[in-house]
Symmetry: C2
Subunit: 582 residues, 2 copies
Amino acid sequence: MPPDGDFPGHIDVPVMSAPVLGRTTQHSAAWETISTRKITDREAILARWPDWHLKKQVPDSALDVSSLPVSGLTPREREIVHHDATSLVEALRERRYTAVEVTRAFCHVATIAQGLTNCLTEVFFGEALERATELDRHMQETGKPVGPLHGLPVSIKDHILVKGRDTASGYAEWAYRTVSDRDAVAVAILRKAGAVLYVKTANPQTLLALETNNNIYGRTLNPFNRKLTPGGSSGGEGALISVHGSPLGIGTDIGGSIRIPAAHMGLYGLKGSVARMPHAGLLGSHDGMDAITGALGPIATSARDLALFCRVMLQYRPWLLEPPLIEMPWRQDVVDGVDIPNQLCIAILWDDGVVAPHPPILDALKRAKDALLAAGHEVITWEPVGHQEAWDLILKLYFLDGGAEYRETLAHDPPVPQIEWMMSQVPNDGAPFSVAEIFRLNLAREAFRAKILQHWNSTEARTRTGRPVDAVLSPVAPTLAPPHDTTRWWGYTSYWNLMDYSAAVFPVGRLDADEYRARDVSADIVLPSDSRNPTEEFIRAQWAPQTYHNAAVSLQLIGRRLNEERVLGMLRKVEDALHSSH
Amino acid sequence: MPPDGDFPGHIDVPVMSAPVLGRTTQHSAAWETISTRKITDREAILARWPDWHLKKQVPDSALDVSSLPVSGLTPREREIVHHDATSLVEALRERRYTAVEVTRAFCHVATIAQGLTNCLTEVFFGEALERATELDRHMQETGKPVGPLHGLPVSIKDHILVKGRDTASGYAEWAYRTVSDRDAVAVAILRKAGAVLYVKTANPQTLLALETNNNIYGRTLNPFNRKLTPGGSSGGEGALISVHGSPLGIGTDIGGSIRIPAAHMGLYGLKGSVARMPHAGLLGSHDGMDAITGALGPIATSARDLALFCRVMLQYRPWLLEPPLIEMPWRQDVVDGVDIPNQLCIAILWDDGVVAPHPPILDALKRAKDALLAAGHEVITWEPVGHQEAWDLILKLYFLDGGAEYRETLAHDPPVPQIEWMMSQVPNDGAPFSVAEIFRLNLAREAFRAKILQHWNSTEARTRTGRPVDAVLSPVAPTLAPPHDTTRWWGYTSYWNLMDYSAAVFPVGRLDADEYRARDVSADIVLPSDSRNPTEEFIRAQWAPQTYHNAAVSLQLIGRRLNEERVLGMLRKVEDALHSSH
């Protein structure tokens, strides 16, 4: 039951129709004009709070700007923005901070983060401060929080509906005409839970990119090395949260869009299985596509915040609002360890057989392996099966219409480089699949899922316990955060979208190019001596420590379908092992 | 955990490919030849057990033959076949009966039922008796049952794969070329649980009919009045189980195919939500269609047997085998009353606004209402919303390809009357929908589901408790079992497939045409004075007590999505109320 006993039926569920609008009538203005207007609007709003801007100019050549957003804070503000969401909510509940001062601190940091990384789209600090004032008043009058997220600022990816705000979603075509009359269900729940909404954040054109660039706002930068991408498509979230401009954000993931920015920015991200978390109220192309669908989920600075988000979402019983959602209450006891074996058996995916990971990622896996073994867990190798096949298949599912809808939109909104690359991957020579072909693709997807499920089950033959492995530990991508416009391989993340498995991303370090020495992993994995395909050749040629200086190193822990709680419960044990090995 | 601790990963999951085979190569023989051969084969097998045949000829004009199948039984055999599955399993476990004598009794009844109603397709009594012998030996040697269904005969609808058996599924084209190399997952679980498989049962050509007729075997008859249909598509199951030829059967339902035969035959049937029960290993047209999918479920002689079936299926954790299944263990405690309010609030659907039910169905609803009120439950009226809209939409989802695949198959296998009617309903002028249109249909489906979910939630304004209604009580069809070839309106069942809600069917009586007097239901429902459409006109004109003499009267109890346990828990309270009002 929701904490306030309120029946969630009172939330208005959004009906998604904006893309249809965006397709049927065309803006009279060119995209360049719309872009200028959106950027001018955003700057005008930010200009209302001049105190929150950085006092000095930062040259474009400055690469690591990650410490600047918090540089002008008071010690108390600095303390506030360094909390994770869980402890911040606790502090707010205990009235150690007011909602207003917390909101102000994050607005302050977000303003600077925006100037340095171009991570924001819609800014509504005024509404946020009003809401925070109300929350403080409620707390003062009743002595009670409004809900489980009382006073917590939460940032929202641009394509997720927020009432009264534009939902341009990376398309200039949609700007100013997708002002929503209601909240996405996840956003409505956040509001009911007492969260403070203050910004929406950048996502790429089409959303089908693991970088963040669009014709409205341009590119979002990685604040730890601005030559690198923060990842995408939830890249604005990644950039913002990584510099403490938000304690918690929501993204979406249909091929890696939560996990990649979380990984590249050294954060935590959870892509649950489809239909576990609220999903109604997202704008994007291909509305109604259900052969493959995405999942909404949190990006945060701690693993426990991922659980906090999920727990709050499911506390409001969103399955009573959104027909596709599964009535499966959150099992916090599992996150806390119930039903999680003390000795895990984890399979490590060293190389997916298509694109071998760069050395620092293999190093991270090796370090994790040693730490897991030292903590008494079992580790075996995950034999990769069909990663190229999975990519070829998911590409077809992404482009059932042969790319027609994207091409139509891009006719007035020229593709940014990552989208140009993606459109070059369109299968079936750009023709739509027939109904019979779609049925066969659905069957191929189910056959693939059955094959990999069987593969997972069959690990029972290789474990000491005789039970199948509990989780797969894997790279998130073959590289750390890549230089802009060079992301070329989604296979480490999109594979688990095709499988619809639960996957969490967590940080394990940061690359110092000057000190970097590759570890010897030859006992664990035989790497191909030659590139196995042009993609691997491209990515192999990219490797040079200096290119990735200061980039986050992250890993991915994958569990079975709808096992979000188990993944987080296991992640706790994995992190315990990693920390005790230091 | 499965009772034997066996990991279900050891079950081979079938890959469905037979329809593709059936389409790409054509039988050299005409359907008439195949039909003769299949029927001859079936009769030859039945002829091996001459003692089980009826000793006298029954003229085709004999309408009520329902008592004949058990007429030649010994008192002990008669006792056996009158158990429900739950008590039979208990008796077998307690060694009051041997598996062999139980199997023989049901084979005996099934043989006669076949002769009277044409309900069987594949017959494998020999294999069944061998299996029963093994089970008895196991029991004798170990003192323990093989599994929770030790020795229970279970009948299987034809299109569900049974290893070593043909899966013609109502298409002459598929006969003899769809002998399966493995079991459907549900069948494999039945075997592991100790069930005895002995027959497969008739389903109609295309499976898309609520009657049972095909070019291989012809029509299946309703043993209580052979002028009437037993319903379909799981009509062989209905006819067989209703005369005690099987204690439990499995059917499938994408528009009413479990519920309609259960209702017309005075049995219990459960259509759960998609992805709750095992589903892999069914043959049918449109393999890979997932805009609308069916559910596999039980048909039985008691409500508790529905729970028995589900409990056993989920005990084997089929989600570890079949990727689409939801990891949601069976909550028998809910069936037994936990979390079920003592005072239910039930909404009665008197008329769906398209085709008003015939008087005996309104009478049954009225009687149920009175009984529920007398037992202290609350009853309100369910306002029907969009039943014609739902039908128009689900028809499009059934025929995304404009009927092309069916037409192709029917070219060599001429449509039986119900299929001729169904093919006349094909939308979109028989053209396939485009990818963009399919996306819009998916959206329309989701919008419809959201609207009805909201409608359900909104009943909170009309209940005394202030909570939404717990269940909807509804007709199963506008008529009792119709005369052959006259079924015209699916809306009372297919609506809940479109919604993907859990629905159980249960018997409330049988029509005696000579004694029948309609009750006055005018206080509860204003019936239209004129027919609202040609379908209603057709069905209204059909009403005459004598036409439906001896037909079962049944109702449907509907709960929210994935609430199978709650529906069965509520059904228990509803039946208690009905029984105490007698």
